[in-house]
Amino acid sequence: MEKLGAWEEIRHALGPHQLPRSENTEERTLMKRRNFLKVAAASTATLFTPSLVRAQNSFPNGPVQLIVPFDPGGGADRSFRLMAPFLAQELGVPVNVVNIAGGGGWVAWQQMAQWDPERDDHMLGTMNFPHVFSYLDPRMQRQETIESFNLLAWHSLDPCVWCARADDDRFNDLTSLIEYVRANPGDVVFSSTAVGSDDHMGIAFAQKFVDGFDVRTIFSNGDSQKIQEILGGVSDVIAANVGYMTSFVDSGELKWLTVLNSERYELIPDVETFEEVTGEENVSFAGRCFLVANGLAEEKRAVYLQAIEKVLQNPDYIAQEQAMQNNLMFLVGDEMNSLIDQTRRYVESVEFWEANG
């Protein structure tokens, strides 16, 4: 029966029209094979027939490059690779994910800021928040600011959380954590991603604005090392995002302490926000957004915007992102700008570049 369970999930992911349900094993194998052929045929068709490409005068009239400023396999890459086929369907042209890694995202972003509205009209960029605000760090000496980009729409948002080992009885929530930290200054060790990351900024904010919040922080390149540290007892609290932590809390290894969101987060409604406990608005998250060339013609911009909106409402895409614990959030115009502005002000208030001199 479990076999059928997994099969059922795939069927769901594929959409109801693609695969009739079948209970019989033999039939299922046949179905797998038939589906395999179908996939093979479809991918060949995508490669060799121009049917996907619309007439020359419509827009877009050729493949669209979806630029991901990080290496293949990372969170952003996985998410946008999931999205690409859906976006291709909406735009009517192939969408190729292109990774331009380097400089903490800036190799790609620097190019995006210089995109030509005519020549680069088939380029769709992506941007990560708060990472892009690393330009606020005077040591980086960056020329670009957020105004250098033609931001299109918000894609997803994953709030920061703090978790501890489930069997750690020194603290069960933020209140008891703060009490413990005040009673034992410098005793608690946080696992965080590098300085300037959303995870680090949440900690730096607390150190700056909460009295007696004297903790030590160790840094790593990514989530796996942090998990290794907390499960191995090297650190006491892990600063990460809801998406990655959920499975560890579900499996009983970790427990939630607080979520750094403006209000209670829908996926974990029982977890107190930082602001509820301390009165300080510590809101940090990993967010993603789309952008296009500066000065891109309004009608072309509208084509992208409409396609993105449709994909973000597509239940099949939403289901796939949910399987990866990714929380989609479609925002445009003023709503998006105010979130971006709020993020910028947060980074400016934390001044993470001052935190660990």
């Binding site: 479990e2 396999g73 300085v195 030590r216």
Partner: protein, 511 residues
């Protein structure tokens, strides 16, 4: 046992087809310098969406195992390692090729890789939960000591020119500090150049130091001869029992190193191969010709990099901690299929995890079959005149690095390393030592600073209180002892190291 009830699942046309696809893509992409296994896996992810979960993951793990092995083809035949996991094989492997023993080198590599992958797959099957718990015992102090142990390999890969090897290693460590610092966010040694801001990637460094430098070397010589100097290749792709018997301990040392290093997150195949190689050299006997095409060295490096493949999946499957980039990509694919990595994978979806484990095992065997066909085709490259193959390697290095990262700065950095690698090889400053510094520098630095923070500037008592740290310290002391031992041997039997030196001084040893 539940495990065995899923063995039949694997022999469906569908699963075998996925394996064949994964293995072929992995071998080809792995063999091209600049394109690496994580990239191959990421490319296959969209294809895998359409498949049932177990088939999708089989596709990806097959690609992973084959990618690590495929990198060895170009390393052995052209001294242009296709992946970071096969750089060490470029040393002995290519020396063998130069002496007309290309097919023998491929035979050894195939046997060591396939059996290494199978052994690693068996460990994944039967020892996953206890090994995963073991991996959690590794903290900053253990990682730091492992990095130190790895850096000791510099002594081995310097082939007697220890001072020059150390200089190259220090240069590697220095270059490893380039880029934005994790713990302060400070952009170090960027010289205002955006290509340095994220630090220097290992990939362009390897392609430059080995492949590009090799291309330069080939075109700077007489362009008419071939690399191998032979006219015909033998067909025999599977080693003779006597060959295996002679290499048995080298193979075992390689496999053991791979299995252990696989479990340790962040270390992986790119570190394991050097440790296996250093171990092999230090247990060498008078008469062994390390640095001049010694099959023992190749057996160890090839055994270790594929020995990593199975066990490196253990922390990912059992704990949800992907130990390396490839594992992280497979981790993402599991999530896409609604499978949450972790112990619950074994209880909630046993059919997926056990079928995948069987798939991994069978894929390693299938790899030998595909390799038998592919290796021979690729081996013909060694019969092509240098004047053609040299420029081809240069072109592939540039295209590979650019295709892999879409970042032109990485191409410049690769070329820089290429020029450095060319002169380093010529004047006996081991490029391998520089690479070791680059790979291990960031690990050592990051964990050492974390160690200082968690121990309040007092790491020694902390390290002494951790049993695994003490074991690693014992290994370090043993490695130092064995590094000096050949010098004692040298006094009595003035053979191998001297001749290695002479071979290096001569511009083209085996022609």
């Amino acid at each position: 046992m539940e495990l065995f009830s899923y063995v039949t699942e694997i022999f469906s046309v569908f699963n075998l087809g996925a394996m064949l696809l994964g293995v072929t893509v992995g071998l080809v992409i792995g063999a091209i310098p600049g394109l690496n296994p994580p990239m191959a896996i990421a490319l296959l992810i969209p294809v895998s969406f359409q498949f049932p979960a177990e088939t999708a993951i089989i596709l990806l793990v097959s690609c992973y195992a084959a990618g690590i092995y495929g990198g060895s083809f170009s390393a052995i035949l052209l001294r242009a390692p296709g992946t970071s996991a096969s750089a060490a094989s470029a040393i002995e492997g290519y020396e063998m090729t130069k002496r007309g023993r290309a097919i023998e080198a491929i035979r050894i590599s195939t046997f060591a890789s396939v059996v290494g992958g199978v052994v690693s797959g068996l460990a994944l099957m039967f020892l996953a939960p206890p090994l995963a718990r073991f991996s959690l015992l590794f903290g900053p102090s253990e990682f730091f000591l492992i990095a130190l142990l790895g850096l000791l390999s510099i002594a081995a890969v310097s082939f007697g020119a220890l001072f020059r090897g150390l200089l190259a290693g220090f240069a590697g460590l220095l270059l490893a500090t380039f880029g934005t610092d994790l713990a302060s966010g400070f952009p170090r040694y960027t010289f205002g150049y955006i290509g340095f801001q994220g630090g220097i990637d290992i990939l362009p460094a390897i392609v430059g130091l080995f492949a590009f430098a090799q291309g330069l070397e080939l075109i700077s010589q007489n362009t008419e001869g071939t690399i191998s100097g032979v006219k015909k290749l033998s067909w025999n792709i599977w080693p003779r029992p006597s060959e295996i018997w002679r290499l048995r301990w080298s193979l075992v040392r390689g496999w053991v190193t791979g299995l252990v290093m696989g479990i340790i997150p962040a270390a992986g195949a790119s570190v394991a191969q050097w440790m296996a190689y250093a171990w092999e050299i230090s247990s060498g006997k008078p008469g062994d010709q390390f640095g001049r095409g010694e099959p023992k060295g190749l057996a160890a490096t090839e055994g270790s990099n594929n020995g990593v493949t199975g066990t490196s999946l253990i922390p990912m499957f059992v704990l949800g901690i992907p130990g390396g980039i490839s594992a992280a990509v497979i981790f993402g694919a599991l999530m896409v299929h609604g499978l949450q990595p972790g112990m619950q994978l074994f209880t909630a979806h046993p059919q997926v995890i056990y079928t995948v484990m069987w798939g991994f095992l069978i894929a390693n065997i299938l790899m030998a079959v595909v390799a038998a066909v592919l290796a021979r085709m690729i081996a013909y490259l060694t019969l092509v005149p240098r004047g053609i193959i040299g420029p081809l390697i240069l072109v592939f290095s540039v295209v590979g690095v650019y295709a892999g990262t879409n970042n032109i700065h990485n191409v410049w950095i690769m070329m820089g390393f290429g020029v450095v690698g060319y002169y380093a090889q010529r004047y006996n400053f081991s490029p391998a030592a520089m690479l070791l510094g680059l790979i291990l520098g960031p690990i050592a630095e990051n964990v050492f600073r974390n160690l200082i923070i968690i121990t309040d500037n007092n790491p020694i008592p902390y390290i002494m209180g951790r049993p695994i740290s003490l074991v690693i310290i014992a290994f370090i002391l043993a490695a130092i002892y064995f590094a000096f031992r050949p010098k004692l041997l040298q006094k009595r039997v003035p053979t191998d190291l001297d001749s290695v030196e002479q071979a290096k001084d001569a511009p083209e040893g085996g022609r």
